[in-house]
Amino acid sequence: MTKKKPEKNIAVNIFFEEMSKRINSRNEKRSTWQSLLIPFLAIITGLIFGAIFNVITNVDVYTAFKTSFIDGLALAWKTVAVSYSALFKGAVGDPRFIIEALRSGDKVIITRAFYPITESLVATTPYIFAGLAVALGFKAGVFNIGAEGQIFIGAATSVFVGYYFTGLPAYIHIPFALLAGAVGGGLWGFIPGWLKAKTGGHEVINTIMMNYIAFLLSDWLLRGPLRRPDTYQSVSPAIQKSAELPRFFPDPIRFHAGFFIAVGFIILVYIFMFKTTWGFNLRMVGVNPNAAKYAGINVGQNIILAMTLSGALAGMAGAIEVLGVNHALFGAISSGYGFDSIALALLGNNNPIGVGFAALLFGTLTNGATKMQMDARIPVEIISIIQAIILMFIAAPAIIRTIYRLKEPKEQDQLLAASNLGGN
């Protein structure tokens, strides 16, 4: 079972829902320049606040301040420097080590030098899928908090197909297992979508409930039908070799083809949302359901479609994780990807490409955090604080504008330009 506590998230999530609505309307008006600048400044500010928390939670710094102010300051600076350089080394790699490794030409050393950055990409992959899932939902006006549960279900169905079917060639087995993940997750999204369209039941409540069902269902599966026969641990049988996503480098580098599939899906979702009639329907329903109805669109059907597709993408996050990294299902298969992806979709402005970059940031930070904990004994939770602060500033761009004295985007200018042309 995951250690995530969903009940803590309800209030937070409803807050997000409100914020995201405001952001949606505001973002459309925001100039392109600011839509890039604000996340960037939010990240910087997040890191600064992370540093402050880092310092004030460090007992040694207090002791040093007792001896002298200079000592305290020096140690505070050192703490921050050590932790952030560890974060960087853990996330991207140690530049010096990389150069040395390249000079030496030794394969094993090079592999070790590039290990951190490849691990970051491995962590990015499920974030991309989960982020796309939530963003697609947002665009269609539904708030899918159920990505976490859909990831579990997707992982379970994918693992089942992965180990149960034998003798399939990889080019059939892998797509089949991925599809199974999409179907599982899609079903988990379809149910709250259908409930919303037919009964008006709010998807926020229903996806949260579906999360519980998913967690406990996968728990039960792992103790019962899906348990590996030769063990008492809650772990599924390993998938067949033919279902494993190809890796490109020798162990311990786990970088796998899933990353490229994820990038492919960014493009696919982008085309779907902005170039097809289906995407246009979804976006119209998302922004103005009344106008969508007026334009002859079946709003209910599109809500169901959006939730199903969103669930399918989240399910693929789970599938990619088991097929590419773990090769089996166990309780901690997702460490909150589904919940983080809500934040991530907001950070990426619900745009597939933006989600890609946001996923890269989250993947990198999460991966670097482990190294930071080992090297600098900084708790991983600092990363959660940084992520939370980044998000807070994204959600409330006014704060960032005040801190950095940015001007409001000049939407009025455009208005004036339009009215000066002579309309009323």
Binding site: T276, V287, N288, A291, A295, Q414, G423
Partner: protein, 512 residues
């Protein structure tokens, strides 16, 4: 004696827009001053500056010769300035006296409310100014015209000397509007000073002692009704000559397009709002539906366009039964719909102009091929419509939400009228638009009529109905009371039917 109220060089700038630019005018005691201007000319901003909802960037306000600076609307009220808002600020479940006393309660010993004293004061006010009202009626039971009277009493109760009316006739029947004019004149006679904000030319000429015209935040003219005409005022408002009288050729009526039989529709609260309505519209004619807003017109239009399921009855378009068809099916039969609330139903504001121009046709060739939308074709289409319908937008990729109301409406009109249609359902097509845009949209509708399109026009603006319609159906409490050929009834007579009274002269057109 100094004027009751004087504005000197009031300037209010919003980012990128000068809402008021050095506005100067004064208001004498007992005078009715009309503030005329198009939407967005800065009338409301000016009054909000007076009411201290905005702080002016420059300029001074004098009350009886004394310079004032208000910190909050309460200061303005204390100085005897009161405003009757377009949307009433009343508590529906309270009675008249409770509403009037709210915020300035009379109390008995021990802090108990003293409704009797308030009621007595209300009766005194109502006698003095001929504002008939029963202090113990609940607001929700009162017609709109009486609710407005309560608003006025509220101001007088607080000792207002200057009364500002913001578009007060927008929600009234013609008769109620006439009653209001009588009240306003009597208020002025008793020494109250009135500012009357409007964009309706007729009202200004009927009522005002003096007229000030605002355009783009600047006072462009000052005149009196005896020196002005509708045309000269419209020209001042818009800044160019405007043709107000519509030159309309007689209708060449063709085959029946729309026929509605015994239609019953309920609203969201399951109340019957369209009650056994039958009507038909033929090709080449305009059937106007007159009626005060909220008498079932909205639900009728929604039922006709497939947006609302009907309880019983039948709707046929060119012989095809569409009683239970989807909006898309109805659109595909050649029905265009200009919805009542353009921002709610007609447009997706955060979408660009070009996407809004294909809102109903994006899934058809040439815009879509195999589910892929060709945005290049849609852009070209938008460029053409922009030129043809004179949509004033910096580009077709500008978000519709950034356009002015008139241009937003043009986007809808362009979209709906540019495709082949046989029936146009136009619901309040000129709501909230200025004279120039109204002229344009009326001409577009008439052109469609002359091309042989059947047109159902719904509007609470009687002038609009009278000008455009070939036949007029009057709706009252969900029923169509009469269908009258244009020219057979005067505006006053139609106004009476709108209030539920059919004059004897028109009894031959009555529908039972």
């Amino acid at each position: 004696m100094p004027p009751v109220l004087e504005f000197k060089n009031i300037t209010k700038v919003f980012p990128g827009v000068i809402a008021n630019d050095k506005v100067c005018f004064s208001l004498e005691k007992g005078e009715i001053l009309a503030l005329l201007g198009e939407n967005g000319a800065g009338k409301t901003t000016l009054m909000n500056v007076l009411y201290s909802l905005y702080q002016p960037d420059d300029g001074e306000i004098y009350i009886e010769g004394e310079k004032v600076t208000f910190q909050s609307p309460c200061d303005a009220i204390d100085k005897g300035i009161g405003m009757v808002h377009q949307h009433f600020m009343l508590v529906p479940v309270f009675n008249v006296a409770e509403n009037v006393m709210l915020g300035k309660e009379d109390v008995k010993a021990g802090g108990f409310l003293d409704i009797e004293t308030t009621a007595k004061k209300i009766l005194e006010i109502s006698e003095e100014y001929k504002l008939e009202v029963n202090p113990y009626d609940l607001i929700k039971d009162l017609p709109v015209g009486v609710q407005q009277r309560v608003e006025i009493i509220k101001l007088l109760f607080r000792g207002a000397e200057v009364l500002i009316f913001d578009e007060p006739t927008a929600v009234l029947t013609p008769q109620e509007a006439d009653d209001l004019f009588v009240i306003i004149r009597s208020l002025a006679k008793q020494g109250k000073s009135i500012i009357f904000i409007t964009h309706k030319l007729r009202e200004v000429l009927d009522l005002a002692d003096r007229i000030i015209v605002l355009r783009q935040g600047i006072v462009v003219g000052e005149t009196t009704p005896d020196k002005a005409s509708k045309n000269s005022l419209a020209a001042m408002m818009v800044g160019r000559e405007v043709i107000l009288e519509i030159d309309k050729s007689p209708a060449i009526v063709g085959k029946q397009i729309l026929s509605v039989n015994n239609l019953i529709v309920t609203d969201n609260k399951k109340q019957v709002t369209v009650d056994e309505v039958s009507l038909d519209v033929k090709a080449g004619e305009i059937l106007g539906i007159a009626g005060v807003q909220g008498n079932g017109q909205t639900e009728l239009v929604e039922a006709l366009t497939g947006l609302r399921t009907l309880s019983s009855g039948q709707i046929k378009i060119e012989g095809v039964d569409v009683s239970h068809s989807t909006p898309r099916k109805i659109t595909e039969l050649g029905v265009a719909h200009i919805p009542e609330d353009r921002q709610r139903d007609g447009l997706v504001l955060p979408f660009p102009v070009l996407e809004n121009l294909v809102l109903c046709t994006y899934y058809l060739p040439p815009f879509a091929k195999n589910k892929f939308i060709d945005w290049k074709v849609a852009t070209r289409h938008a460029e053409e419509l922009k030129k043809q319908f004179d949509i004033r937008t910096p580009s077709v990729t500008t978000l519709v939400g950034n356009l002015s109301g008139g241009n937003q409406q043009k986007v809808i009109v362009a979209r709906e009228l540019s495709r082949p249609i046989s029936l146009l359902v136009a619901s309040q097509p000129t709501r909230g638009l200025d004279v120039g845009s109204i002229e344009y949209i009326h001409n577009q509708i008439l052109n469609k009529r002359d091309e042989g399109v059947a047109i159902l026009l719904v509007s609470p603006e009687l002038d609009e109905i009278m000008q455009l319609s070939d036949r007029i159906a009057v709706m009252f409490r969900g029923k169509i009371l009469a269908i009258i050929p244009a020219g057979k009834a005067s505006k006053e007579e139609v106004g009476l039917i709108m209030a539920g009274i059919i004059p004897d002269a028109l009894s031959e057109f009555a529908i039972n």
